[in-house]
Subunit: 205 residues, 2 copies
């Protein structure tokens, strides 16, 4: 792309670094910002800078937080012995939206990925083992995406945790509610038969 | 969405204001920025603020520029009597990329849209009429999108310009190169027959 302005080009380049934003989308977003008032653009830019500068991560679970211990970990009514391990804060929000989980979380902040050079030491794993060692935890639920990276991480965590006197579980895989058997892939369908559940347990509550 | 942090929520809200960015995409982008270094996020935010603050628009054609008169308008080798009217800077870049146009531009910075409350006085139209009145222009090419807003704007501009001793043209509509006749819509196909051109003129040069 040929730009009529150096400033414009720099702004488009910055936006293009974001995941899933190509140069055409970046240009559209930058031109949109150019049509906004100066104070609105200032707020946009400064909010992001401030976020990066002041954000904290919960010292217990690693979730994004405004306080040293997040609102979930400091909540008195939650089941402290149940810990759900997730990849990032987005998954915490997704599970919280279901209203089906009343335990605590542990945010890994990524998955093991040799391809991207991310090893176990880059993730928030030591702290998880420490939480288990302290004896507060009775069950760890591994709620990671069913990808190569997710499965690798699950396998690694299972090896780390299996010698403790706790339950290690993974979330159920199967046909989604509203999904059609005919269109399900073979692995999912096969697994959903292997891991079938008693009818009474399958009802939505 | 329930956020674990006020700062995070504010940043996601700011991103969600951009066109085509929903709250889930906004969250993904914000979490990406959180994983970048502080100086990278600072550069991202400050580049946008600086762009909005320091950007200039060419006093002749209205295109985005770092200087009072843009590089195209101040170019000595360009055909000054030919003016191509476009909606915004993106269209200037698209036409420049074709290497088929050697005239000047005039950027309206929008289209007439009663639905969005944008009238002729909100656009860079007076300056176009002034350029024509000054007698430098022999042809105005209206290169606007074939939408209701585009056609309305073309009609308005044509009325404003028709009494001057200049040619007013629009870009050709028809079947795209590589497009198939079978799949073209009726209006385009019908028009492409009505406005057929001699074979010699149709060859790509």
């Amino acid at each position: 792309m040929q730009f009529s302005s150096k400033l414009l080009e720099e702004a488009v380049n910055e936006f293009s670094k974001l995941p899933g934003i190509g140069s055409k989308t970046a240009l559209r977003l930058v031109l949109h910002l150019l049509n906004q008032r100066q104070d609105e653009v200032d707020r946009f830019g400064n909010t992001l800078i401030k976020l990066r500068k002041e954000i904290k991560f919960c010292t217990n679970c690693g979730n994004i937080s405004d306080t040293p211990v997040c609102t979930i970990c400091s909540h008195t009514k939650r089941e402290r012995s149940l810990v759900c391990v997730v990849e990032d804060s987005r998954d915490v929000m997704a599970i919280e939206n279901t209203n089906q989980f009343n335990g605590l979380y542990h945010v890994l902040n990524g998955l093991i990925s040799p391809m991207e050079g991310i090893g176990p030491s880059d993730l928030n794993i030591e702290r998880l083992v420490e939480r288990v060692r302290l004896g507060e935890v009775s069950e760890v639920i591994l709620a990671l995406n069913p990808t190569i990276e997710g499965d690798t991480t699950i396998f690694y965590l299972y090896k780390k945790l299996k010698d403790f006197d706790i339950k290690v579980t993974t979330i159920a895989r199967g046909i989604a509610f509203g999904g059609e058997i005919e269109y399900a892939d073979e692995v999912t369908l096969g697994r959903s038969i292997m891991t079938r559940v008693p009818y009474e347990n399958s009802l939505l509550r």
